[in-house]
Assembly symmetry: C2
Homo-oligomer: 337 residues x 2
DNA sequence: CTGTTAGCGCCTTCAC
DNA sequence: GTGAAGGCGCTAACAG
């Protein structure tokens, strides 16, 4: 059981060459004769040699580690609905990173100084919040960062984003075609770029149509409960909107619940559409019309961008990931199958 | 922008002491006079010194990295339902790890040799499958492993688990009290220890009660669709069961859907209970009775166990995480609130 | 083309 | 109590 690691030196001895030759042969460097290269490789294989990553990192000054900020609220059971976007992004990002030889380390968002116990070469921050600690840490260490959604304090930072304003337009157009005359917007606190984009897009759409905007900000977290409370409010007050666009699927599900509990029929009495598609949106009855933000593509692109930034040490151009609107029952589409 | 790292040497010079002294002072080693220690610390703080983790890793022979196997099926949209358990586990594990000074790296389950691009000190494998590649890799490198659920090929491996058999008993008892006379079991392929435990528990319960067991294995993945198909089958055939226990929430939701589409009322015509609680189970109408496996506690314990295994280099005793049965509409409970 | 020589930044015996 | 020296395993200049 006491199996000491096989080092390059062992391989060098076995192959009868020097350390440099082993290194060059194994890393396809230098212009070694094919015979030597093969001999070294065979020796390495036979001995079961595996490079010591940490030593390599130290020598190269690069850890091979990418940080991914996480803000999964493990303590907020109610908000489990909107984790789907993040999970898909996470899974995709991790896969691509590994495929390209990088490891993804999770850095849950904490208040105060984030003490990351590893050296990292760059970081991905999803929906950076104002004064994001991880962002500051990366900046302080001079490490490249890619954000998903724009950093409002530094909008020119490399990022991957959707064209949310256009997506909102598309959804509002759909609801208008289905008969909506005064669609409202239910948004969460505008501290993320995507929420601002939605609000801006909404206002632009209203202005272009000459309809009076009605923006409601949900209080109390991004939960279904928050959506429910807000919806009970504006669905029972004066000037009840005949359509609602929400910036998050959990909010839409809250509206959905409120509408049903109030006896409002969807889509006839109330249309609902939302940002960020999810299983829950698909499973609701009627199913909720939603905009797929392509979290998989987003995660993939974020990693690619970050690796580029690290390897070319420049600021790569932002990437815009296309969205897809899925028409469902809450805006009048009839279920297929 | 060209800010060179502050090294221990810089601190040593600034504090007017030697490297050893700096190292000892910063790591609370040796018996230095408090004054010296403070002086060194102040110098370090002032210079903004941060240890180079990679160098430390190389010197200590420990990377500070824990691997967590992921089998999130990013390409299987339908199975997004049962990710909730894993996400909670992941989030909790990552938090605890960081808190204790370890980093968690995601290792998505791949076919073939998993090439992990970093050195790691140990691994957590959730629901290991037969011949799990990551398990083999860790074994080959002599790295400690903790599994969530038992490794069927090596059941004495350190692990964190629930007492699934007991949980199944509890659920079956509940359904029997509510009038069920021939509860069936809908299970996925028995290649995980938890599925086997459920099947065994089910058979034991049936034997004790003298009722005929009826086990159905869902085909085609752990999706809602698979549950639906299986349910359509046994709900329309002869000897329709009056209750079903499923080993996964997505299967239960499939049964739920099938029951509704067949006009069966829950709980009167069919009771449903399942393993693994989820938001979807809570949101269904009627809500699905489910067993909460405490993924957060499980993730936390798995990390703790693994760290223990690494630091004490022994095999820690298995941990059993308590479960909680949540009675809901599908077994007759009336909604509260 | 190959081998020798310094580090990468830190930890850790060992003398002083 | 403190400082000097060697080493962790690999990479990258530089010679030869």
């Amino acid at each position: 059981m006491t199996r000491s690691r096989v080092s390059m030196k062992d391989v060098a001895v076995a192959a009868g060459v020097s350390l440099t030759t082993v290194s060059d042969a194994l890393n396809d460097r230098g212009r070694l004769p094919e015979a030597t290269r093969r001999r070294v490789r065979e020796a390495a294989d036979q001995l079961g040699y595996a490079p010591h990553r940490t030593a390599r990192s130290l020598a190269k000054g690069r850890s091979g580690i990418l940080l991914l900020s996480v803000s999964l609220p493990e303590s907020t059971p109610g908000s489990a609905v909107d984790i789907e976007f993040f999970v898909q992004l996470l899974s995709a990002a991790s896969g691509v990173a590994l495929h390209r030889g990088w490891a993804l380390v999770l850095a849950p968002a904490t208040e105060g100084e984030p003490s990351v116990p590893v050296d990292f070469d760059g970081a991905i921050v999803v929906d950076p919040r104002p004064h994001d600690p991880l962002l500051r840490l990366a900046d302080a260490e001079g490490k490249p960062v890619v954000t998903v959604g724009r950093d409002l304090e530094q909008p020119d930072r490399p990022h991957v984003d959707n064209d949310h304003a256009a997506a909102v337009h598309q959804a509002l157009d759909l609801m208008a075609r289905a008969g909506a005359e005064r669609p409202a917007l239910l948004a969460s606190a505008p501290d993320s770029s995507y929420v601002r984009d939605c609000v801006d897009g909404y206002h632009a759409w209203c202005a272009a149509r000459g309809s009076a905007p009605r923006v409601v900000t949900a209080k109390g977290g991004l939960t279904q409960g928050a959506g429910y409370e807000a919806a009970r409010d504006f669905l029972t007050g004066p000037d009840r909107p005949d359509a609602v666009f929400t910036t998050l699927d959990s909010l839409a599900l809250g509206v959905h619940l409120a509408a049903r509990s109030l006896g409002l029929r969807m889509p006839d009495d109330l249309q609902v559409a939302t940002l960020s598609d999810s299983e829950a949106a698909r499973q609701a009855r009627p199913a909720v019309t939603a905009i797929d933000l392509d979290p998989v593509g987003t995660g993939r692109d974020a990693v690619q961008l970050l690796i580029t930034a690290i390897e070319e040490s420049g600021a790569p151009a932002p990437v815009l990931v296309p969205t897809t609107l899925h028409e469902r029952g809450t805006t009048g589409a009839t279920a297929a199958g």
